[in-house]
């Protein structure tokens, strides 16, 4: 099979991060090629380079044996590259035909040639073997159909190399199967497809070859037939498992249950979940992005409504209608997105830490005692080790690690003993990560109980005393001490071996 696309030694740095170093990727015509790697491994950056959105610092892009330089997206499209992003770029109030021809409408004397465009759209969907209602606004169509329109749009631009970025993340299994049929059809027509997915089972089902990235490095490429799930996970995760996480304490089976969630159903008719959290433990919430981990945390705290839930804290049933009530029962959260959910970025460090402590700093029953606020904040900052010029520093200017410590400090002056860490080290450099891990362990030694949502397998494996694995909204497995291995977690998270389990 001749290579239609070759990337050689692609290197790309952003201020402060080396995103990619020396990446190779070879894709043949009519090949479905999986690009595999954890979040942050560099897959998205590589695809943005391939579609002309970023330019590489070094390296060659070779299409059909010719060196190419993509100054922008249009250059890439002209070279025959089509990309379907995770976030669709369709205009919801236009129909399929209007979307496909958006920006390059066919005209005669300034008027649209609707019939000609419609005929071509019909031909495109016939080629894909799907039926789409061409007169419906796309918002009225299913996610899968919208995706098919995205693919048709790329093909309308004569794409011969099609990039699908996590196309199945939002599809039902039936729809995913439909997508695979389309992919096989395109493969037969000689279209090369780069397929990004975290679902290893899908990769084994549909792909021919695999390239694995890790931390911006090229790790390996291999034929699908020559590998298995264990070695793939090993390649993705690498030796980072050995990275120094604080030692785990010995299991304490007698530790009391501090939080008990039963019959948690977020939507009527949706999956029902239950879990327990013990004093002094870290319970990892593992699973793919969108598997319902954050949603579960938010529903427990009352930050989002739940259809039904039963929560007991230290054995007492509580209602937890909103985060304020959760706080009054000693529950706190470090949200997934520090900037949009965690911090008030225009506020100083002090104002951010004391935002939920203010009633404690009152004098004469109403007025803020600034002196007391300053001293307590100072103690909190020292406890978590925030590095900053002073309390008045605006949090916007802090590094990710220091921002996370500010959010953490907010909860430490309360009687809070149950903390939810949602992706606690996302976007944080390695040194600060270790500090956050150290803080989490220090807290559990003081009797705090922690639920940690994380999409990084090494973090889940290295930090969790127990792991609840989520798949499609359900907790499908709860793993204990030595059952916590990357492969087992991946298996449960991606339904790799569901049939054996059930």
């Amino acid at each position: 099979m001749s290579a239609i696309l070759e990337l050689r030694g692609i290197t790309k740095g952003f201020p402060g991060v080396q995103a990619l170093s020396g990446i190779d990727l070879t894709v043949g015509a009519g090949e479905i090629h999986a690009l595999l790697g954890e979040n942050g491994a560099g897959k998205s950056t590589l695809m943005k380079i391939l579609s002309g959105i970023h330019q590489p610092d070094e390296g060659r892009i070779v299409v059909d044996g010719q060196d190419r330089h993509f100054a922008d997206y249009h250059d890439a499209v002209a070279a025959g590259i089509g990309i379907v992003f995770q976030e669709f770029s369709l205009i919801p109030y236009l129909n399929a035909v209007e979307n496909i021809f958006l920006g390059r409408e066919r005209r005669r004397f300034g008027l649209l040639k609707s019939r000609s465009m419609r005929a071509e759209a019909v031909a495109l969907f016939e080629r894909l073997g799907v039926h789409i209602d061409l007169s419906a606004e796309v918002r009225a169509l299913s996610v899968a159909q919208q995706q098919f329109i995205e693919i048709a749009k790329a093909l309308a631009l004569d794409a011969r190399i099609l990039i699908l970025d996590e196309p199945t993340a939002t599809l039902t299994p039936t729809d995913a199967e439909h997508l695979f049929q389309i992919m096989r059809g395109l493969k037969a027509q000689g279209v090369a497809i780069i397929f990004i997915s975290h679902h290893l089972d899908e990769i084994f089902e549909i792909c021919d070859r695999i390239t694995v990235l890790r931390d911006g490095q090229f790790i390996a490429d291999t034929d699908v037939a020559e590998t298995d799930m264990d070695s793939l996970v090993q390649m993705m995760v690498g030796r980072r498992l050995e990275r120094s996480f604080p030692p785990k304490p010995a299991p304490r089976p007698s530790a009391k249950v501090v939080l008990e969630v039963e019959g948690l159903q977020i939507e009527r008719g949706g999956p029902v979940n239950a879990f327990r959290l013990h004093e002094g433990e870290i319970l990892g919430f593992a699973g793919l992005v969108g598997s319902g981990r954050t949603e579960t945390v938010m529903a427990v705290l009352g930050a989002d409504p739940a259809h039904r839930k039963t929560v007991r804290i230290n054995g007492d049933a509580v209602r937890l209608a909103d985060p304020a009530e959760a706080l009054s029962h000693g529950l706190g959260i470090l949200p997934e997105s520090r900037k949009t959910e965690g911090l008030i970025t225009s506020f100083s460090i002090r104002d951010n830490i004391s935002i939920n402590n203010l009633p404690k700093y009152r004098k004469a029953g109403a007025f803020l005692d600034f002196a007391r606020e300053r001293t307590t904040t100072d103690a909190m900052m020292r406890q978590v080790g925030v590095k900053a010029p002073g309390q008045n520093t605006v949090v916007e200017t802090l590094s990710g690690g220091n921002q996370q410590k500010v959010v953490l400090a907010r909860w430490l002056n309360h009687h809070c003993r149950i903390l939810f860490f949602d992706e606690p080290t996302r976007g944080i450099d390695v040194g600060a990560k270790a500090e956050i891990y150290g803080l989490m362990r220090a807290l559990t030694e003081q009797g705090y109980a922690i639920v940690m949502v994380s999409s990084e397998l090494p973090e889940i494996v290295g930090m969790s005393d127990r792991v609840a694995v989520f798949r499609e909204g359900s907790i499908v497995a709860t793993l204990d001490s030595d059952q916590i291995t990357p492969t087992d977690i991946m298996r449960h998270a991606t339904a790799g071996e569901t049939h054996e389990l059930v």
């Binding site: 949009t340 965690g342 506020f347 004391s354 935002i355 203010l358």
Partner: protein, 329 residues
């Protein structure tokens, strides 16, 4: 602290330039400069501008807008808006006048006047905070309702025949200060204390800065918003008392467009329309700036039609400068 050193570092700037730069970070700096500049222009343009009687006159004219702008500042600081205040003020005023004309105890009538304002504000707050409806729509609707109720109640005619002492609220004097000015100062002091010295005030800024983060940190955001809109209605109710005292009647058509003047004062005062940043000191300066403009342009004899154009241009300019400043900050 080292932060002040970093400010000093970028060069051997003159101490005055340095303290000016530091002052520029104070939110009310630009409104203050604006007020001073416009005042100086007016002093040269008109001999009688600086007379004591004219200054008192400006302050009294400003007082009603400044009172409404207090509640508006709280609302805008959260990223919201309250369009109902002008109509609510008119309704509260006519109701008080009607009750007094009908023989109800005047004190009680004025208390009802303030309560009606607060009640409308709380209703706005309930729709915004608990039903999650957009403030601009909610208060647009209650603006229509309040205006309509006032017209229904009065049949469209002013109500007069109020006890003479009510006039004190419009024109009375205490220690040489006119009552409206005194009331304005008192309300500003109380509101400033609430905003800058209590947890509630901090929540106002926090909600405007990042409502989600504030809610997730365990602050009762909905309850705070309810009270914030209530406060906006309350200051409209207090403004209604002053207005009734000054007009000595209940005017169902009073206060048309007052909500826009209040918004203008708040925005001129440097408060971000997106919420999170701003101050009450800025608002009073903004209200004074508008008052000085009105007064000065009148004294110079500028056509009233032209005046509104001038005010509009100044508001655009102020927001533009504010945006530029935020970009560089």
């Amino acid at each position: 602290m080292s932060s002040s050193k970093t400010v000093a570092a970028p060069g051997s700037a003159h101490p005055i330039a340095l303290s000016l730069r530091r002052a520029a970070r104070f939110t009310a700096f630009y409104p203050l400069v604006g007020l001073i500049v416009v005042s100086i222009v007016m002093i040269f343009a008109s001999d009688s501008f600086l007379s004591a009687s004219n200054i008192t006159n400006i302050l009294r004219q400003v007082s009603i807008n400044a009172l409404i702008a207090v509640g508006m500042t709280f609302v805008i600081l959260t990223g919201g808006i309250d369009l109902s205040v002008g109509a609510v003020m008119a309704l509260a005023g006519t109701l008080a006048a009607g009750l007094m004309a009908a023989g109800l105890n005047g004190v009680l009538a004025l208390l009802i006047c303030v309560a009606v304002g607060a009640g409308f504000g709380l209703a706005n707050g309930a729709f915004v905070a608990y039903a999650g409806m957009p403030p601009i729509i909610v208060t647009l609707a209650t603006m229509g309702i309040a205006r309509g109720l006032g017209l229904i109640y009065t049949g469209g005619y002013p109500i007069s025949g109020l006890p003479r002492w009510v006039n004190w609220f419009g024109e009375g004097r205490v220690l040489g200060l006119q009552a409206p000015i005194l009331i304005m100062i008192l309300v500003y002091v109380l509101a400033w204390t609430l905003l800058e010295r209590t947890p509630f005030g901090r929540y106002v800024y926090a909600i405007g800065g990042n409502e989600t983060a504030t809610r997730l940190s365990g602050v009762r955001v909905a309850r705070s918003k309810l009270l914030i809109y209530g406060l906006s209605g309350l200051t409209a109710g207090i403004a209604a008392v002053v207005l009734t005292g000054r007009l000595m009647s209940g005017q169902p058509n009073a206060g048309q467009g007052f909500e826009l003047d209040a918004i203008a004062a708040v925005v001129l005062g440097g408060t971000s329309i997106a919420g999170g940043r701003g101050s009450l000191i800025g608002t009073i300066l903004g209200a004074l700036l508008l008052g000085v403009l009105n007064n000065g342009l009148n004294m110079v004899g500028v056509n009233p039609y032209v005046q509104t154009v001038v005010k509009g241009v100044i508001i655009l300019l102020a927001i533009y400068i504010g945006r530029e400043r935020r970009k560089t900050a």
